[in-house]
Structures are given as C-alpha cells and as structure tokens.
Amino acid sequence: MKQAILVSASAVVITVGLVVGLPGAHSAQSINATKFNIDESHAAIYFRITHLGMSYTYGRFNEVSGSILIGAGATSFDLAAMTASIDTNNGKRDKHLRNADFFNAKQFPSITFKGTGTQSDDDVLHMTGELHLHGITRSVPIHLKKMGEGKDPWGNYRIGYATEFTIKRSDYGMDSMLGTIGDEVDIMVSFEGIRE
C-alpha cells in the first residue's frame, strides 16, 4: 500500500514537473541564447533577374525585419520582407510586380526565411532554411558569411551577415512572362542585428 502511494506520488510529481518544467526549460534555453533584432536601416535584400536575356534588372525590398538567435551550438534566423515594398526604380513596374501577375502582395504580404545553421571555422554558417514566397515554402541551402561583430560607437553590440543564392521563381508559382523575364533570380542579402 505504502509502495503504491509512493509510485502514485512520483507519477504526480513527474507529470507536474513535465507540465510546469517544460516551459521553464524553454525559457532557460531562450535566456542562454542571445537575441539580435535586425537593424532595418542596415538590412538589404536585393535581387536581379534577366530581361530578354540581354541584361539584368535589379530590385530590392525596402521593408525588411527579423531576428537572429545565437545559441551555444546553432544560430537561427527569422527574416521577413514585405512584398509591397518592392522597388525596381520604375513605378509602373513596381505596381505590376506587386500585383497578382507576380508577387500578389495583397494575398501574400510577406516573404519569410527561417533557418538554423551551424558555424564552420571560416565564419560561414551553413544551413538549409525554409523560404516562404508566394504561398509556397521550399528548402533553400544558404551559406551565410559573418561579416563581423562588435560594439558600435553608440554602445550597441552588433553582428552582421551576408549571403547570395539563386532560386527559380517558377518553383514558387511565379511563372508569368517566363522567357521575357528570366526564371532564375539571384538574391543578395546583407543585414546587421543589434543585441537586445
């Protein structure tokens, strides 16, 4: 009888521990990791795409946000660009790109990238992240180079990364005017994070 009570009590303690302890454990993990918020004034997502196979058209997203979480073993990235903020230095083209022929900004207001990578010796983070674009999520291998880190003149601690990669827009259901406008899109990303 005494043994049964002990077993029951242990079960209750373990259950309560699991219920109460798990969020606590998660908090502890979050505390151990260092969070950096993306500095929007020093974050850039540029892209280029061929026009008639003759030249590149360049563009950028003016609204970028996100965060970096640097833990003991891995670094996580969570970036978002607002599709309506596309800027190719031509108002009519930007309007067309925002519409349903391309980015469909009213249905898909943001492009997001989430990924976790481990750092190699040469300050490069290798990761396969999830790129969510035009309502479709696909895995994209990315190699993020850490450009540097340290205190800025105003006392903030910063870290900066840059990467380049290529995607096919048709993989994301953006297949309007293939031929006139290329399928492969070269993307160049650079951003700084400020430690919380």
């Binding site: 031509n90 108002g91 309007k95 519409n99 349903a100 249905q107 035009h134 259901g173 309007s176």
Partner: protein, 270 residues
C-alpha cells in the same frame, strides 16, 4: 438578322451551347496566360476556372434546361453569386482583409449583382438578334483594357476569351438558326465579369470607380431599355443598348488610361 421567332427547342439548344462556348473560351484564355491551374488553388485567380466558372455554367445550364419556379431560379443565382464572391475574396482573409470587411464586400457586391442578374434575365427574353453578344464583347474588351492598366495582365486573355466565346457562340447560332439566340447568356457573363473585376480590384490595382463602371455596363441595358422595349424600333433599341453600355465602358477606360499615363515614371516594358 433579328426578327426570326425562335422556338422552345432552339432556345434549349442555345442554353446548352452558351455555357459550353463560354467555358471553353475562358479556359483557352486562362491556359494561354497561366497554364493548368493547380488543385487545390493557391492563388485567387485559380478559383475562377476550377470552381466559380463551372458552378456558374452548371447553374446556367440547369436553369436553362429545367423550368423552375422563378423564385427558385433567382434564389439559385443569388446563392451562386454570393458564394463566388466569397470564394474569390477568401484568400485575402484575414492577412490583408479583415473578416468583417470581407463580409461587407460579399454582401455589398453580391446583392446588387444578384438584383441586376434578375432584372437582366427578364430584359434578355425581350431582346433579340446580336445586340447582347456585341454589348458583352464590348464590355469584355473594356474590362480587359482596365485590367491591363490596373496591373493584372494575365487576367486579360481569359477576359477577352470570355467575350470570344460569346462571339463564337453567336456565329454558331447564326449558322444554325439564322439569328442569335441569346437567352441564358447575359446572367452568366455578368457573374463571370464581376468575378474578373473582383480579382482585379482585390488582387491588383483596378480602382473601385472603374470596377463599378464596368460592372454597371451590362445592367445599364436594363435600366435604359425597360421603359422603351416594345415602344421603339429594333434599331433604336440597339442604339440605346450600345449607348447605355458603351458610355460607362468608355469612361472607365478613359479614367484608367489617364491614371496610367499620369504615373510619374519612365516607360515600362517589363
């Protein structure tokens, strides 16, 4: 062409042929611009050929072939119109369109469009010849121009092909019956046109003014003609029809063109 009296059997053939021609026309235009739509649809425009178009055509077909009570037929159209608009708005809810706003749009658009389809179906029975197909083609061309300038170029082939289907159906009708039997046509076209305009307004930058003007172009026939049918000659009726629909289309295209030209930028060729 025009004054030949059509019999019941000819009308039944017409109500079968129109949905087929319109459906084929839309699909040709859609495939040309987009390719095969995926299922389940991801983007809003994919709901048109996969769900909205078949639903509208089936209701058009059923109502044409079967003599329902008038209130039941009208109720079926109201339900199809409300559901069609709701389906087309759904992809934006709740990310960029609040549920309350979406419901307001569904009701605010659905009720007048339903009313217009009911009125138009009555007027259509009293009009004859190729007037209605020509008016529909004119409205579709105007809508295509506005959609193009509103930044939804890939919607244009389907809209034009919708009108093309009407022209092809008219030619078939002339070949077989020596006149255009347009019964059952205008309601289908109005609902599909409204669908295209909803896509232009909510997923591109077709302004509300142009949307309303284009949406009013077909119903304008009834507003102008209801008092004069039976009192005017065939040519006078035709003239008033073209005028009633043509003016809103012309105004919409002009406004769109002026806005497009006024965009402060250099030329744009993708």
């Amino acid at each position: 062409m025009g004054h030949r009296v059509v019999t019941g059997s000819v009308q039944k053939i017409a109500v079968v042929v129109w949905p087929i021609m319109i459906g084929v026309g839309y699909w040709i235009g859609y495939l040309f611009a987009h390719g095969v739509p995926q299922w389940p649809p991801l983007v809003a425009s994919e709901w048109m050929p996969t769900v909205v178009l078949p639903a509208v055509l089936i209701v058009g077909l059923v109502c044409g072939l079967h003599q329902f009570a008038w209130w039941f037929e009208d109720a079926m159209w109201v339900v199809v119109i409300i559901i069609a608009i709701a389906i087309l708005l759904r992809p934006r809810v709740p990310q960029t369109l609040a549920l309350g706003h979406a419901v307001a749009w569904v009701v605010g658009l659905g009720l007048p469009v339903s009313l217009f389809t009911i009125v138009l179906s009555r007027v259509e029975r009293r009009l004859y010849g190729g007037t209605i197909p020509v008016v529909i083609m004119m409205v579709m061309v105007g809508a295509s121009a506005c959609l193009m300038m509103g930044g939804y170029a890939t919607l244009v082939p389907a809209t034009l092909a919708l009108g093309g289907g009407v022209v092809a159906g008219s030619l078939l009708s002339v070949c077989f019956f020596y006149t255009v039997v347009s019964c059952g046509l205008i309601r289908i076209c109005l609902v599909l046109l409204v669908g295209q305009l909803v896509l232009g307004k909510f997923y591109a930058e077709l302004p509300l003014t142009e949307m309303v003007l284009l949406g009013m172009a077909l119903p304008a026939i009834s507003v102008v003609l209801l008092p004069v049918i039976g009192q005017k000659s065939y040519w006078q009726i035709r003239f008033w029809c073209f005028l009633a629909s043509g003016i809103p289309v012309l105004v919409a295209v002009t406004i769109s063109g002026l806005k497009y030209a006024a965009t402060a930028t250099t030329s744009y060729n993708f």
